[in-house]
């Protein structure tokens, strides 16, 4: 920028002020950012359906739920379904992500136990058969020591899938396993 226009004789404590005009690029960009306002308002604030933040969220959430469960519909909470999904690694990964989001604070990052029991060993406190895991997850146990998750998981499938994942942890070797709680039970059916 050339500061060469004649200095005006405005002077404040030795500071002189020039009369350079406002740069054109400054004016254009400023007007553009101001001009965005009516456009944005027209797009989002005239009451068209689906334009508020909450409505956009609902749409995205519905799409997300569909994406999650399109393939499998509603899972039954029985042994057959659980055995079937024990073999599906893709859905075990889903169960793992639910586990990571909700369970590791009490059961440890690999299910080895912490405040809650070790899920990787052969001893179980409240479980006798596979569907019991779903029941415990939904309803809790130990006077609230194990919270009831039924209302917190976004979909009943979540309880089934995370139960399948928990079942798959049996026999794995976590890093710092807690000692056994409860008593040994029969192996899961194949």
């Amino acid at each position: 920028m050339q500061n060469t226009l004649p200095t005006i004789t405005l002077e404040h404590d030795g500071i002189q002020e020039n009369t350079n005009p406002i740069p054109k690029w400054w004016k254009s960009i400023f007007l553009c950012t101001l001009g965005l306002a009516p456009i944005y308002l027209l797009c989002f604030h005239v009451g068209a359906p689906g334009t508020t933040l909450v409505e956009q969220f609902q749409t995205a959430m519905d799409a997300n739920t569909r994406k999650q469960y399109e393939e499998i519909g509603n899972l039954a909470s029985d042994e057959e379904t659980m055995v079937e999904y024990l073999g599906k690694s893709q859905w075990l990964a889903v169960g793992s992500s639910i586990f990571k989001a909700n369970c590791i604070s009490c059961h440890g990052a690999e299910g080895g136990g912490n405040v809650g029991p070790n899920l990787c060993d052969e001893s179980f406190k409240h479980i006798k058969r596979l569907p019991d895991i779903i029941k415990i997850i939904n309803e809790g146990a130990g006077a609230g020591a194990m919270p009831a998750w039924a209302k917190r998981l976004t979909h009943p499938n979540d309880a089934v899938l995370v139960s399948v994942y928990v079942a798959s942890l049996r026999g794995t070797k976590p890093q710092n396993p807690k000692g056994p709680d409860g008593s040994p039970i029969a192996a899961w059916p194949k």
Binding site: M1, T9, H45, F57, A60, A93, K100, G142, A145
Partner: protein, 771 residues
């Protein structure tokens, strides 16, 4: 005194003008300058401590229980944020304003004594503020936290000790027109006065505590409005005024564009006054407020850059001067950092960008770039420029100045760049969804990827602090010498008309040309001659600023505070007495420094934390605790048994036993502190007075205190029974656990987020009827 040590200037006058010799009063400037450096160094030290605590959470865990609460990350972070704003920032502003206002008005400060009172009062307020914040007397938000008597002192000192002095100096000026810096100073004085006065309005509860006037969404909006206002009008606007004075002085060149400075000033004031809601995107505030914040924030890009254009234009390519003068170097680089951070701020105002960056370290990187980059560099530049003009030294050692510059730059880069990287890592891991739309990473995994960068910034902070020590050494060496006596000869006011007159014409170029009369009239208006008239009249100028600012404030406050359309929850109840004191503990411990309580309408957040937060859930939150960061997970739906009460007990005792990678401090002092149940009645009463529907009727033989003590004890016993039933201890360090403060805090946390899904009154409410 020897002539050579008195700096004199001759104003260009016609020979018949009468001369007056005035002496500028620079004592206060020197005091504030030293205070700025000391507080700046303290802020840096606090930053090093808090940074260390994040990288090494066990740093203080071996201390005695009663020392622990003062040294948690939350307390030190609160101290540090307040110090950066009100200690370092404000003192720097005062230094510059006291020096420049006298010279721009060609008159000695109106009251030297008042300025000394200002200095003493301000430092006293700061010391008391730090003390109280360290003890946990916070009103629940990061910057507006001090006890109400201090807040009153703050307002009174700001308006009637500082503001009055500056304003009267301007009234008594010998310079006809107000220079642009003075506009910025006036705006800052008026605006900060309004912000602080509104923030001061609380219901006192005893000497040190107070209840805020509003609750929930309205309170959260007010807290944010205040914080944004202080950041804008205490830390940005006056600094821009300082740039307009000190940069041309240091560069020795004319200011680039007078017209641009007019547009700069008014567009900044107007847009900043409306932009506060840009920090509340995706919260339950009305969406028009969020949009207003976004659009004003975006529109602020060019106004902010007007200051940069004016500053760099003043330099006009004379980059060599930077090599010679450390003051100019600091100022110009600071201005360039301002250019970057103001563009960043405008981009962060966009809702979809905010969705990515809010709560992450990105916001911290931005804050540090602003405060340690732009504001601190400007301050350092100003100090280096002031030193030779405040003391009688033959020459000043500028090598230290250049050395300081490079240290500060290296330190700044090592602080800010890791924070950008950690913010980016955190945010990415929070958001990542698998092909099937599931969360890929746990919160702790995101935290771990962020924390790998944190130790670098501690190193950067140490380097930066060393730079401030270099500056302090420079200043100490300079202040050994006697102060400079700054005197000028100025014309007396009668001879003002003999001053060289305006040679600038305000006549439109379109006059006489073949255009419509209205065209030449509009063109005339754009020459802004009316503004020139306004610059002669500071009282009208101040009234204009007050009117515009007041109008914009009222236009936002009234709709938001009076808005009746917030969503409500039919089954909501006020906090039980035990939960109420538990909430007080949450606030006093500063949990908000790491934990937010706001689940935004964004898919990955709803998946991670639960149903999105609604306005009706917060109506009994006084103050709201929405929070600004997620160093720890969001707690909005942590209640209702999501973690067992035993888990919370153990987590407060020592979180790292439960989660090895955690940075949560040890709160075991809460587990051995007895809760004063007898004081709960007064607390409930204070809450009822300000509007919460508690039933204060007592039966025969009981007082309010005894009634609520009984109610609170019942709930405490229930929670203690839960903990014992889940395998916890009956006695902890010689106290029954049901008597401890931790139980109250657990009660509060177990309440969080449960109101949304409650169908019937909770068992706890059944023992403490509220209606």
């Amino acid at each position: 005194m020897p002539e050579s040590f008195v700096a004199t200037e001759s104003h260009s006058l016609s020979p018949n003008a009468a001369h007056v010799r005035i002496t500028y009063f620079d004592v206060t400037t020197r005091y504030f300058l030293v205070a700025t450096i000391l507080w700046g160094f303290l802020t840096c030290l606090l930053g090093i401590l808090t940074g260390l605590l994040l990288s090494w959470p066990a740093l203080f865990s071996r201390l005695r229980d009663d020392l622990l609460p003062y040294l948690t990350f939350a307390r030190l972070n609160t101290l540090q944020t307040n110090a950066a704003t009100f200690a370092f920032g404000a003192n720097a502003v005062f230094t510059g304003i006291y020096y420049s206002v006298q010279r721009l008005c060609k008159t000695r400060l109106w009251s030297a004594g008042l300025s000394i009172v200002h200095f003493i009062a301000w430092q006293t307020i700061l010391i008391l503020m730090m003390g109280f914040l360290m003890m946990g007397y916070t009103r629940g938000s990061l910057i507006s936290g001090v006890p109400w008597p201090l807040e009153i002192a703050f307002v009174l000192v700001w308006l009637f000790v500082f503001g009055l002095n500056i304003f009267m100096t301007i009234i008594r000026r010998r310079e006809r027109y107000l220079f642009v810096s003075l506009w910025f100073y006036l705006a800052s004085i008026i605006a900060v006065g309004i912000f602080a006065a509104v923030n001061w309005i609380v219901f006192p509860r005893g000497w040190w505590q107070s209840s805020r006037v509003f609750t929930g969404v309205q309170d959260a909006w007010l807290q944010n409005w205040y914080k944004h206002g202080i950041d804008s009008f205490l830390l940005t606007i006056p600094f821009l005024g300082l740039v307009y004075y000190f940069l041309p002085k240091a560069a020795g060149r004319p200011l680039y564009s007078y017209k641009l400075s007019i547009i700069h000033f008014w567009s900044m004031i107007v847009l900043l006054a409306c932009a506060s809601s840009r920090q509340l995107h995706f919260t339950p505030i009305p969406e028009w407020a969020s949009t207003l914040g976004m659009l004003c924030g975006l529109a602020m890009w060019m106004p902010s850059w007007a200051g940069v254009v004016n500053g760099l234009g003043t330099l006009s390519g004379n980059w060599n001067a930077l090599k010679k003068d450390p003051a100019l170097r600091f100022m110009v680089v600071g201005l360039l950092i301002y250019a970057y951070t103001s563009l960043e701020r405008s981009i962060l105002s966009i809702k979809s960008i905010d969705a990515l960056t809010h709560y992450s370290d990105w916001m911290i990187a931005h804050s540090h770039a602003v405060e340690m980059g732009w504001q601190a560099f400007m301050t350092f530049g100003m100090i280096y420029w002031l030193l030779p003009r405040l003391v009688r030294i033959a020459d000043i050692n500028i090598r230290f100045g250049h050395f300081h510059f490079w240290i500060a730059t290296v330190g700044l880069i090592l602080i800010v760049v890791p924070e950008y990287l950690s913010g980016f890592a955190q945010s990415r891991k929070w958001r990542e969804l698998s092909e099937l739309g599931r969360l890929q990473f746990s919160f702790m995994e995101a935290l771990q990827s962020a924390s790998s960068f944190w130790s670098i910034r501690v190193a950067g902070n140490c380097i930066y602090a060393f730079g401030i020590m270099v500056l302090a050494a420079n200043v100490l060496l300079a202040l050994r010498f006697k102060p400079m006596l700054n005197e000028v000869n100025v014309g007396s006011s009668e001879s003002e008309s003999q001053l060289t007159s305006e040679s600038r014409s305000f006549v439109s170029k379109l006059l006489g040309k073949p255009v419509l009369a209205i065209a030449s009239k509009l063109d005339q208006l754009t020459m802004l001659h009316w503004h020139r008239d306004l610059e002669r009249q500071p009282i009208w100028f101040a009234i204009c600023i007050s009117f515009i600012f007041g109008l914009l404030t009222i236009l936002q406050l009234f709709p938001l505070l009076a808005f009746k359309g917030y969503s409500t929850i039919a089954t909501i109840e006020p906090y039980t007495p035990l939960e109420l004191v538990g909430r007080d503990i949450y606030i006093a411990q500063g949990c908000q420094n790491c934990h937010s309580q706001m689940i935004r309408p964004i898919v990955h957040e709803a998946q991670r934390y639960g149903a999105i937060s609604q306005a009706g859930e917060f109506i009994f939150d006084r103050p709201a605790q929405w929070g600004d960061r997620r160093i720890g997970p969001d707690l909005a739906r942590e209640g209702g048994g999501k973690q067992s009460s035993l888990w919370h007990w153990k987590h407060f005792e020592n979180a790292s036993v439960m989660t090895p990678e955690t940075v949560m401090p040890v709160y075991k002092h809460l587990l051995s502190q007895k809760l004063p149940f007898e004081d709960i009645g007064k607390r409930v009463q204070a809450e009822q007075i300000v509007g919460a529907p508690y039933d204060l009727n007592v039966q025969e033989g009981e007082t309010i205190d005894s009634k609520f003590a009984v109610v609170a004890r019942k709930q405490a016993e229930m929670i203690a029974a839960d903990i014992i039933g889940q395998g916890g201890p009956v006695i902890y360090r010689k106290n029954l656990i049901k008597d401890t403060s931790a139980i109250a805090l657990i009660a509060y946390i177990q309440r969080l987020g449960t109101d949304l899904t409650r169908l019937t009154p909770s068992p706890a409410a059944a023992v403490s009827p509220s209606k």
